[in-house]
């Protein structure tokens, strides 16, 4: 019984420490086994762009279905605009949402504002974190997926080995980020 009480104290202490932010209140939060804790508050960060890869244009199953809303904290955006690279500890969040299903073969919908694609339900979260020590093997960035499905997302995610390859192959020259899709990264405007 004493063993169990000691165990309880140890587990509670671990639980308390794993969620402590690394520096101040911002930046990524990891569990003891290196999993990333689901970021919070990201919808109040700066939105930098929203690619859409509709299922209707990707054989019914886009790899990232379908809208990709990308968010970054303002100070990290400013640093990038000034220096052309992201600071250590930068977190980029890509939240997916499905498109409303229209009658056209490409999935687009006729709306009062025109024919096109309109967000439906939120549909998942992918995150990348810059940490040159932790992720030195993948050009200083770690990749995480918290599921491609409706909320709730996974509370924590292990580093994914499936993502870095494509970023290394295509956007290694722009700090592993698809800068060309994001007007705010391409320009220095506020």
């Amino acid at each position: 019984m004493a063993y169990l009480v000691r165990s309880a104290i140890v587990i509670l202490l671990i639980a308390a420490t794993v969620v402590s932010p690394q520096s101040g209140d911002k930046g990524p939060v990891f569990t003891n086994d290196g999993s990333l804790v689901l970021p919070s508050g990201f919808r109040s960060w700066v939105f930098i762009g929203g690619p859409i890869t509709p299922n209707g244009l990707n054989d019914g199953g886009a790899p990232f279905p379908e809208f990709h809303s990308v968010y970054i904290e303002r100070e990290n955006l400013r640093y990038y605009q000034k220096n052309g690279k992201f600071p250590e500890g930068t977190v980029l969040v890509k939240e997916l949402s499905l498109a409303q299903v229209g009658k056209h073969p490409d999935g687009s919908l006729d709306s009062a504002s025109g024919r096109g694609y309109f967000p439906s339900t939120l549909n998942g979260l992918d995150v990348m974190v810059k940490d040159s020590k932790r992720y030195s093997k993948t050009n200083d960035w770690g990749f995480f997926t918290f599921g491609h499905h409706a909320e709730p997302y996974e509370p924590a995610a292990k580093e994914s080995s499936q993502c870095a390859y494509c970023h290394i192959a295509n956007v290694a020259n722009t700090d592993m980020v698809w800068v060309r899709y994001y007007p705010l990264l391409k320009s220095k405007i506020d």
């Binding site: 969620v19 939060v29 690619p51 949402s97 709306s111 025109g114 994001y182």
Partner: protein, 202 residues
């Protein structure tokens, strides 16, 4: 007994971790919140700082799917201030003074007849350059004739946008909102997941 206790202890640990995580990454107070500014002619001044407001969704009406010329070309990025979003989620109506900004962007270098292009993440549409701004303002006295909202167009073209804009006629903007979304405070909430379903991450 031991097994049950262990399960209970582990459960407590997980519960403690998840409850603490909610407080581990507080959102900094946003100091950029503004309300609409009008000049003596009743023209609205171009809002500033809106890209730091809360983004709520991005409908896309590509030119190529709209006979070469969409009414709102082409992405519509929509932003609202945090305090007004919070009030909407609580009450189902936007407070007086709410400003909603819709910033347009073109799509990036169309490659297919439908305006889409193929990228490593799939075939679709990607943001090109900024292309204009429309704004709605809730002021039940000033805009009583159009269900309490005024509509402003700062140009549908690349930066820089117009420095001020006069209220758009009902035929240009308000009429369509009154016909389709009068019941949801003149806003197309069906296109914005956060407005429709709430923000479950908070």
């Amino acid at each position: 007994m031991r097994k049950i206790l262990l399960v209970v202890i582990l459960g407590l640990g997980v519960a403690a971790a998840s409850s603490l995580s909610r407080y581990s990454n507080p959102v900094a107070a946003d100091s950029s919140q503004t309300t609409a500014v009008f000049d003596s002619d009743g023209k609205m001044k171009l809002p500033v700082g809106y890209r730091r407001w809360v983004f709520i969704g991005a409908p896309l009406t590509p030119n190529a799917l709209n006979n070469g010329k969409a009414n709102f070309p082409e992405y519509h990025h929509v932003y609202v201030e945090q305090k007004n979003l919070d009030a909407y989620l609580k009450t189902g109506a936007f407070p007086e003074g709410t400003v909603i900004v819709k910033e347009l962007t073109r799509v990036l270098n169309p490659a297919f007849p439908d305006g889409s292009r193929s990228e490593p993440s799939g075939r679709g549409y990607f943001n090109g350059e900024y292309n204009g701004m429309d704004v709605t303002v809730k002021d039940s006295k000033r805009f009583a004739a159009t269900n309490g909202w005024g509509f402003f167009n700062f140009g549908h073209h690349p930066l820089p946008y117009a420095e001020s804009a006069k209220e758009a006629s009902a035929a240009e903007c308000a009429g369509c909102h009154m016909s389709f979304v009068a019941k949801t405070d003149m806003t197309w909430v069906q296109f914005y997941p956060i407005l429709r379903d709430g923000d479950k991450t908070k």
